[in-house]
């Protein structure tokens, strides 16, 4: 590369390692860089990295030779907090691990505690859990859809997505009391029963959303510019998913029929009939279409749930109180979140607080394959691949 470029760009790799201006991670990354290539920091504040993710890339012209995500900007010690709070006190944290899909995390933790302590959940509560989880999945996919198309340069769709998302937030607000960091589940049930208005609004929302999905297809999915940005870009096959532990829509787009709701049924999901969409295609477009089809599947579950929800209690009578202690033991509990398999692993020695809590965030494993998937693509496609992974950084960093 021309020497004048070295002069104006201090990040261009030079022979003299003493001249770099990078921080710890840039310096660490630069060690493997070739002379003349450009090291670029994407983020941590750039909107296309969704939150505060930083990605270091080594560029040859416009091609990504190598990349490395740098995490930790949103690390909040969630696992440590789990060790110093009683199970009941820790429950609200779950809404904050993944703010777009709080119900799945509610379920992962409440489910793990119930499994370990042998707490039964009333049938009506199981239905309310499924209803809230599926509504939440739809709202999470909607926000992903809008933000992803925004990454690709389409500004309008996110405004549509937010209109639908607002409706879901209005519905979930009735039972959870909040619009973002929902804390709805309790050990042995849910926080509140749904009233007539709650079920009526869901009944209105299902046909409305089905109509909107048709509009999404006409407006966005069949758009030739979008197709060119997605089709054939960023293929991720079964082997790649397996080596990195990717789950959720990424894995299903790779043609693997694996959905936690079907593979390891929890709650009352076995009572419902729905189709889990499976790829191929396994490219960006495959992952895009997977999520839109999952919205349809969730609507199917919702319509069955509001028709067949039984009467009864929404929580058991002797629900654990704030000072509730876990019995000693170990448990793994997995649920299907919007981004993949959420696992809560609890080790308890019978003390006041759990001995160790491990939160398995699907986004963490999904992001770890980015470096390999983005290798050799142009930078703009790498951004599209990053978007197709549906990242929520608070969940990745925990």
């Amino acid at each position: 590369m021309a020497s004048w470029l070295n002069f104006i760009n201090p990040f261009t790799i030079d022979d003299d390692p003493g001249t770099y201006l990078g921080d710890f991670y840039t310096d660490n990354f630069e060690k493997g860089a070739q002379k003349g290539n450009v090291i670029l920091n994407l983020g941590p504040q750039h909107p296309s990295t969704h939150g505060v993710l930083r990605v270091l890339v080594e560029l040859y012209g416009e091609y990504v030779l190598r990349s490395e995500p740098v995490l930790g900007y949103l690390h909040r010690m969630q696992e440590k907090m789990g060790e110093v709070k009683t199970p009941y006190q820790y429950l609200p944290n779950m809404g904050r691990v993944d703010y777009l899909n709080p119900i799945a995390w509610n379920w992962a933790y409440a489910g793990a505690v119930e499994l370990l302590a042998g707490i039964e959940v009333p049938e009506r509560a199981e239905y309310l859990r499924i209803i809230s989880a599926e509504l939440n999945r739809i709202s999470s996919h909607l926000l992903w859809w809008g933000a992803f198309v925004l990454d690709l340069g389409g500004v309008t769709p996110i405004l549509y997505a937010f209109e639908e998302r607002e409706k879901i937030n209005d519905i979930l607000q009735i039972v959870t009391g909040s619009r973002l960091t929902m804390n709805y589940f309790r050990f042995g049930g849910v926080g509140q029963d749904g009233d007539e208005r709650f079920f009526a609004l869901i009944g209105e929302f299902i046909p409305y959303m089905r109509e909107r999905l048709k509009m999404y297809k006409d407006l966005v999915t069949d758009n030739v510019i979008l197709r060119r940005r997605l089709e054939g870009i960023g293929p991720m096959d079964r082997d790649l998913c397996l080596r990195y532990g990717a789950t959720g829509p990424i894995l299903r787009a790779a043609g693997v029929d694996y959905d936690t709701r079907k593979a390891i049924p929890y709650g009352l999901y076995h009572k419902f009939e729905y189709r889990v969409p499976i790829g191929p295609p396994n490219d960006n477009f495959g992952r895009y279409i997977m999520r839109l089809e999952e919205i349809e599947a969730s609507l199917t579950i919702l319509s069955q749930a509001i028709e067949s929800i039984p009467q009864g209690k929404h929580i058991i009578d002797k629900a654990p109180k704030p000072a509730y202690k876990l019995p000693p033991g170990e448990v793994f509990f997995a649920v299907e979140g919007a981004r993949g398999q959420v696992i809560c692993h609890i080790l308890s020695d019978g003390g006041k607080t759990p001995y160790r809590i491990k939160l398995r965030a699907p986004g963490f494993s999904n992001l770890s394959l980015f470096a390999e998937a983005a290798k050799g693509t142009i930078l703009a496609d790498a951004i599209a691949i990053l978007g197709s992974l549906d990242l929520v950084i608070p969940e990745v960093d925990r």
């Binding site: 710890f24 991670y25 660490n28 490395e68 995490l71 930790g72 690390h75 010690m77 696992e79 440590k80 060790e83 793990a112 499994l115 370990l116 302590a117 042998g118 707490i119 079964r238 998913c241 397996l242 080596r243 990195y244 532990g245 990717a246 789950t247 693997v256 029929d257 694996y258 593979a263 390891i264 002797k318 654990p320 109180k321 704030p322 000072a323 509730y324 202690k325 019995p327 000693p328 033991g329 170990e330 448990v331 793994f332 509990f333 997995a334 398999q341 696992i343 692993h345 080790l347 020695d349 019978g350 003390g351 001995y355 160790r356 398995r360 494993s365 770890s368 390999e372 960093d397 925990r398």
Partner: protein
Amino acid sequence: MTSIDNWSATCRDFGALYVTRPDFSKQGIHLSAYLPPEALLDMAQKLKDEGFTLLTITTAEFTEGFVVSYLFDSFTESSRLALRVLLKDKEKAKVPSLYSIYQGAEWHERESYDFFGLIFEDNPNLVPLLLPHDLAGPPPLRKAAGALSSLKAINFQGKLEYADPDFPLAPEPQEPAELATISEAATETGPSSGNNEGGA
């Protein structure tokens, strides 16, 4: 012979120190096996060949040492296996990295390096992942000596299939008849004992 039986036998072949068969409906895993660290890579390679994926790595500290649990799952059949290694020497704890087989292990291992200071040999980029690179003090999830529990306090339930006599969880040697029912008593009292009355 189910596939879990097969995996149990395979773990024994690789020199497993302690193998139990937990109740899946109560614990969410089908098999738990403590392996010697040197057998970990061969076992992981075998799992990879059979189409298993590595979902997560959990590290925990006990009085006996660190326990690193690797959770594997198969996409084709429901078999969730927890392979573990017990690292007795806390100051020089080293585990072989699974990076060469499961590239996704790199980040999980770096996370354990962050929070427990564990060294994963042959991890290609063992630098802090979630914590600042210049964080002072001991690794944050290490426990003070007074707060440590022993492995036995956790009450890992499940049917015991094999126990090396020297392994910390191994039952007392004089009563071999009780081998198979090690945690049965605890199973009965454990879940229902619930301290429900509580009160804030």
